[in-house]
């Protein structure tokens, strides 16, 4: 695949590491080999924080990898290049430019004559269905219309490679569906002036609907764990059995990866290297209750949960992972199954739930157990947050460490294991705990 003749862009042995407060830089991307061919839409899937967006930015030339290289048009890519255009999750429109000016701004770098630039921008606007909005400012537009401007701005440059960073995730479900369908229609009819697409997404159905090939990344650091070709004919139908099978496959790959990495991380560094997901106690309790009740009665497929709860994987997976870590439920083969403790939790009242949660925190979450132990050992019964931050940052990126500590704090507070004062940034014991 790295020596594909048709390749538009070729990523070779790409590694990326971010500097840490102390010591060795922390790797986020490890040995990524990937190429994108003409005529294909490639989807990049993975847990949130797995480095998908970083990889997309490396392909865009916005970030330079720590090692390895990106080959584009036969030469190493060292900066944003002609023929590569990005569609941003947050749209990234210039609020002080009108729709037309925003699209024209994308053409600035090409140095076209004024009338030619105007014509191209106009064509892109027509194609994307923005006609009539030329003189509007972005703040007058709805989210969907704003992202259409984002598409028009990118396609007006007639890119060889269109990079899309979760282009639909900031939109509501209906709007996202409309934009996806419109985009696919243009793609299938070869009306889009772009040769290939790389998109990052959290939505597995969206990925299967749109992409010709899916690349699944693991995390900490991200490696390519699976490549899943999607050969279904277009237009694709979500209700077809084959479609559902592929979605199941992807879920299985993702859960298998998650379980493996959770298990592995728990063994190393006394479990302190285990990042905790952004899962609030309320969300986890809610999911337990839903799982416990009919029609699931203890077990559900993740894709069913995702579609009935209309949660994308970046929201569903953290909750499921949280339950898995706390052993209230078990992630397996793309499904989530309540454990005995999970059933007890579902039946319990507030106090019983808290007691159970406390037990599980001490047994299964090394970090909260660690904080608790430190507090018990200390005479003053208080410990500064920074101490744990530093400990965590030995093993995690700063962002992961922050998220992990937040989750641990919220969980510990709920379980009344310890108290935390954000003003003094100190953990302390609760006198009536236990």
């Amino acid at each position: 695949m790295a020596d594909d003749k048709n390749a538009i862009i070729d990523l070779r042995k790409v590694c990326m590491a971010f500097p840490k407060r102390s010591g060795e830089p922390l790797p986020v991307l490890d040995d990524i080999n990937m190429s994108i061919s003409a005529g294909e839409i490639l989807g990049l899937l993975g847990r949130s924080g797995s480095g998908k967006s970083t990889l997309l930015r490396i392909a865009a030339g916005l970030i330079r990898p720590t090692s390895g290289e990106v080959v584009y048009r036969g030469a190493p890519l060292t900066e944003p290049a002609e023929g590569i255009a990005v569609v941003f999750q947050t749209f990234a429109l210039f609020p002080w430019l009108t729709v037309l000016e925003n699209v024209e701004a994308g053409l600035d770098a090409l140095g076209l004559p004024r009338d030619q630039a105007r014509r191209r921008a106009q064509d892109a606007i027509d194609l994307i269905g923005l006609d009539g909005f030329q003189s509007a400012y972005p703040r007058e537009l709805s989210g969907g219309m704003r992202q259409r401007v984002g598409f028009a701005r990118a396609t007006a440059t007639r890119p060889d490679l269109l990079l899309m960073d979760e282009p639909f995730s900031a939109l509501d479900v209906l709007t996202a569906e409309t934009l996806r369908t419109d985009f696919l229609d243009l793609w299938v009819e070869h009306q889009l002036p772009t040769k290939s697409v790389l998109m990052v997404t959290h939505n597995i159905e969206e990925a299967v609907l749109m992409c010709d090939r899916l690349v699944v990344l693991s995390s900490n650091p991200a490696r390519i764990t699976a490549e899943i070709p999607v050969t279904l004919p277009r237009p694709r139908n979500r209700l077809e059995e084959e479609f559902g099978n592929i979605v199941d496959d992807v879920y299985s790959v993702l859960t298998a990866r998650t379980i493996a990495s959770l298990g592995a991380l728990k063994q190393t560094h006394e479990g302190l290297a285990q990042p905790l997901p952004r899962a609030s106690v309320n969300r986890m309790s809610g999911l337990i209750e839903i799982l416990a009740a009919p029609p699931y009665s203890g077990r559900a497929e993740l894709d069913t949960l995702a579609s009935t709860l209309s949660l994308e994987i970046n929201h569903l997976f953290p909750i499921a992972e949280g339950l898995h870590i706390l052993e209230f439920a078990e992630l397996k083969d793309g499904g989530l199954k309540l454990t005995a403790a999970g059933h007890v939790f579902a039946r319990g009242n507030t106090d019983e739930r808290k007691r159970l949660f406390r037990e599980h925190l001490l047994r299964f979450v090394p970090l909260t157990a660690h904080v608790y132990r430190v507090l018990q050992e200390r005479e003053a019964r208080g410990a500064p947050r920074i101490r744990f931050e530093v400990e965590l940052e030995d093993h995690l990126t700063r962002r992961d460490a922050e998220r992990t500590l937040r989750a641990a704090t919220a969980w510990g507070r709920y379980a009344e294991l310890f108290a935390y004062d954000d003003k003094t940034r100190m953990f302390s014991t609760i006198s009536n705990a236990g």
Partner: protein, 468 residues
């Protein structure tokens, strides 16, 4: 920073360059006013550059804007609202300095440039209250005209550069802008200017000089930081030693304690005045801010008052003090904050107007009233705005102390004592070592209050009033 204090140095320096003409003095004045105005605009631009949203930065890099295009497409528009706001502030400050610096005496050197400042100076010498009145009227008219013809249109025009993606509740309007946009006579003029600037912004003018390094390579270099701070430290030490050699021969520790003692008096004044201004303007600002219709009317008036150089009004106050034999130590003090108290007021108005409706409704539905309402609802809500206003007000008060603590009315000289009076006296006497000492003490005090009081308060306000 007490820019006014530096004035005597720059005047002397520039006059020495061209001793026989008014030209040198003219340059000195322009220079002084320029420095008083430029730094805060430059700082505003710099601040904007540092806060450019990440996604817009990536978009401009992704679409390979050249340095020139990036500047006009991204950096200037993003900085525009802050820049215009600071330009307005600078303009007000500028008038203040014009009035203060057109007629300046350093030792034996007495300078009077044609202008409203020296007009007022002359009026004071001749104890002509009517002339002072005319100066005030002239100033009012001038400010009104440039407000209508320059700043209103600028503010209305710059509204489109607001970064927020939501529409403003009340878009600023200006009849001048309307004139250019809606009349067939003036529209082509505006449009052609627009087309020209557009074309200029589109040009690539690709100079690799502006090329910025890729984000991935931006590894913060400790060494470079150390070297830089080292250089800065060396520069400070060098300047300090120069100052010491220059001043040390003439100054004793007694002088230093004298200056610090005077500084203490002025500090106490500033503190008390800020407290008083707060007690007056916070309730009024809140009352106005909660009534949008009223706020819309009061806000321009407050801005107008802030733009008015308060030192034009000093002679009137001084006349009253002399007339009624009031104690200058007390009654000169309010002059310090005369011009800058408005910043407290209109920041509080802005804060109260921006106060979320659901908080107001929640407070109303739980019947939170009286002191609890102030303590738990309103004061935390306007606190960040208030701190911003108070910082500006206290900074302005320090500056104003130089012209307000020692004033005269004809032959009568009033001295309120304090660091401002100290600097003013030393300037009049042409005693450079002591001017330098006074300025140094004032700089230290201003920086210290900023560091020890306002910064922590600001950080606290930011932290406490955020929900996430």
């Amino acid at each position: 920073m007490p820019v006014l204090g530096y004035l005597s140095f720059t005047v002397l320096f520039l006059v020495s360059l061209s001793p026989d003409s008014a030209f040198g003095v003219e340059i000195a004045t322009i220079f002084a006013i320029f420095t008083s105005q430029a730094w805060n605009m430059a700082f505003s631009f710099f601040q904007s550059l540092r806060t450019i949203p990440y996604d817009l930065d990536e978009a401009s890099r992704g679409f390979r804007f050249s340095g020139w295009q990036r500047f006009w497409r991204l950096e200037v528009p993003f900085a525009m609202p802050g820049l215009i706001w600071n330009t307005m502030m600078s303009m007000s400050g500028g008038w203040f300095f014009v009035v203060a610096s057109e007629a300046i005496s350093v030792g034996d050197l007495h300078v009077a440039l044609p202008g409203i400042g020296s007009y007022v100076e002359r009026a004071i010498e001749h104890r002509d209250l009517a002339a002072v009145g005319w100066a005030i009227v002239a100033m009012t008219v001038t400010i009104f005209i440039y407000d209508q013809l320059l700043f209103r249109p600028l503010v209305a025009w710059a509204d489109k550069f607001r970064y927020e993606q939501t529409a403003a509740a009340v878009a600023p309007r200006s009849w001048v802008i309307d004139l250019f946009q809606r009349t067939s006579l003036l529209r082509p003029v505006g449009a052609s200017i627009g087309a020209m600037t557009q074309a200029a912004a589109r040009a690539r003018l690709s100079v690799r000089l502006f090329a910025r390094p890729l984000a991935g390579r931006k590894v913060p270099s400790r060494l470079l930081d150390v070297v830089w701070y080292g250089l800065v430290l060396l520069a400070i030490l060098y300047l300090g030693s120069v100052l010491l050699r220059f001043a040390g021969a003439e100054l004793s520790w007694g002088d230093v304690f004298d200056a610090i003692g005077n500084g203490g008096i002025t500090l106490l004044r500033v503190a008390i005045l800020i407290v008083i201004a707060t007690m007056i303007w916070v309730p009024i600002g809140v009352a106005v801010g909660l009534r949008p219709a009223l706020a819309e009317k009061v806000q321009p008036v407050a801005q107008f008052l802030a733009a008015f150089p308060a030192n034009l009004l000093f002679p009137v106050a001084v006349y009253l003090i002399v007339r009624f034999h009031l104690s200058p130590k007390i009654w000169l003090s309010p002059l310090m904050i005369l011009g800058t108290q408005w910043y407290i007021m209109f920041n509080v108005i802005a804060g109260a107007s921006a106060f979320p409706t659901d908080f107001k409704e929640a407070a109303a539905s739980f019947r939170i009233r009286g002191w609890r309402w102030w303590r738990d609802v309103m004061l935390p809500g306007i606190f960040p705005y208030y701190v911003t206003g108070a910082i500006t007000a206290s900074g302005g008060a320090w500056n104003a102390s130089i012209v307000s603590e020692a004033v005269s009315w004809g032959p009568t000289k009033l001295n309120g004592s304090g660091l401002g009076a100290y600097i003013a006296q030393m300037t009049e006497a042409g005693d450079y070592p002591r001017i330098a000492l006074g300025i140094a003490v004032m700089s230290v005090l201003v920086v210290a209050t900023n560091r020890l009081l306002w910064r922590p308060l600001y950080a606290y306000a930011e932290r406490r009033t955020r929900l996430d």
